[in-house]
């Protein structure tokens, strides 16, 4: 049977992709951020997941306001990165895991979680930057597993509640664990932490709130469901709502997890950047 072995969170700021392309790992601005990743690399090298479920939020590449799915799951053989408007270097396509995708979609809809399935989905920096961070070299890296992208809407309100995000993850877990093949699955929660790009409050970062979230998500994610969506905007910033992806990931990890590694650094671009490695206990 399939198992979920752990979860990894990271910010997915576009500037990180450029820094990787330019090899700025030892640069004084970037070093405190990139230093958060070697422990994750070691864990991945040791555990070698067979599939990665990459939970991110699209930023206006794969979806537009004409049709905006609240929760979308990729069900394709491969996922392409495309120009997001600033001509970033194109990456090779990411292999998918459509059989498991459809199993998850069947399982979650039977579980009364209504989602949108995608046989074509252009994946943006929210998906690609974490893949680059965790599997340097991407398709040249023999350890990079096939991926299933899951995107939640944080572009347009109403966005899902934190409670719904956690419940999504729990339903995802039930679906994955019922897959009959022996597979090791790792789940990514990407985005955040606090940041705001728009308005007179642009540049808002909230260390105290980020640290609270990073603490509670390990020990008591249900406590975080008490935060309303507007409170999340207020305390995490307008784009800090991407923390929903972390909640979705957390739900997929089961009740108890071990925190193996954590890093937090301000600022990367406009953002409080957080990285966490959580290992499943059950």
């Amino acid at each position: 049977m399939a198992r979920i072995i752990g979860g990894i969170t990271t910010s997915h700021i576009p500037a990180v992709g450029n820094a990787i392309a330019q090899g700025l790992f030892e640069d004084p601005y970037w070093k405190p951020f990139f230093d958060g990743y070697p422990p994750v690399h070691e864990w991945l090298a040791k555990n070698k997941p067979d599939v990665v479920i990459n939970i991110y939020n699209d930023h206006g590449l794969g979806f537009f306001l004409d049709k905006m799915p609240t929760f979308a799951i990729g069900a394709a053989h491969e996922y392409r990165n495309e120009d997001e408007g600033w001509g970033i270097p194109q990456l090779p396509p990411f292999p998918g895991a459509p059989e498991l995708s459809w199993h998850i979609i069947e399982g979650m809809v039977a579980d009364e979680f209504d989602i949108t399935s995608c046989q074509e989905l252009a994946v943006d920096h929210g998906f690609t930057v974490p893949m680059q961070l965790f599997w340097p070299g991407l398709t040249d890296n023999p350890d990079m597993p096939p991926a299933i992208p899951i995107s939640a809407n944080t572009v347009q309100h109403p966005i899902p509640t934190l409670n719904r995000a956690l419940a999504f993850g729990r339903s995802l877990r039930r679906a994955v664990l019922s897959y009959p093949k022996d597979l090791k699955v790792v789940v990514l929660g990407t985005g955040g932490l606090s940041h705001q790009l728009d308005g007179e409050r642009a540049g808002f970062i909230n260390r105290e709130f980020d640290e609270y979230c990073m603490d509670k998500i390990v020990t008591d994610p249900d406590a975080l469901t008490k935060i309303s969506r507007m409170e999340l905007v207020e305390k995490a910033g307008a784009q800090g709502t991407e923390f929903l992806m972390w909640m979705m990931m957390r739900g997929a990890l089961g009740d108890k997890v071990n925190l193996l590694h954590s890093n937090y650094h301000i600022p990367i671009s406009n953002t409080g950047a957080g990285t966490m490695l959580l290992e499943c206990v059950d």
């Binding site: 572009v155 309100h157 728009d198 540049g203 309303s228 600022p267």
Partner: protein, 120 residues
Amino acid sequence: MELAEFDHHADIPGTTIFDGRMAMKGYALNKMCYSFNAAEARAEYLRDPEAYFDKFGLNDEQKAACRAKNVLAMIAAGGNIYYLAKFAGIYKLSVQDVGAQQTGVTTEEFKQKLLDAGKK
């Protein structure tokens, strides 16, 4: 059941909640900006911005905000920052340039403010 009013209309200073109301108001502007994902669209826009505004049916407020490259005005006209970022990209404006413009400081000052947030 009572609607949770706070959840719809939180008053967070300096923050526009991009909800259905704003999404309807800004649809044409955001659709134009979404088109800028494609390099050909960016080139077409640069050849004749006014014609490109009309192609997407921007209203006068949206056109004026775009001509001025005024991000706060574009947001007031219904722009969503994720799409506006693609407009900013055409003019090689970074998120720090955009942040500086909106907060009335230089880009260097804005970057310093971010660095200072890390020292707290």
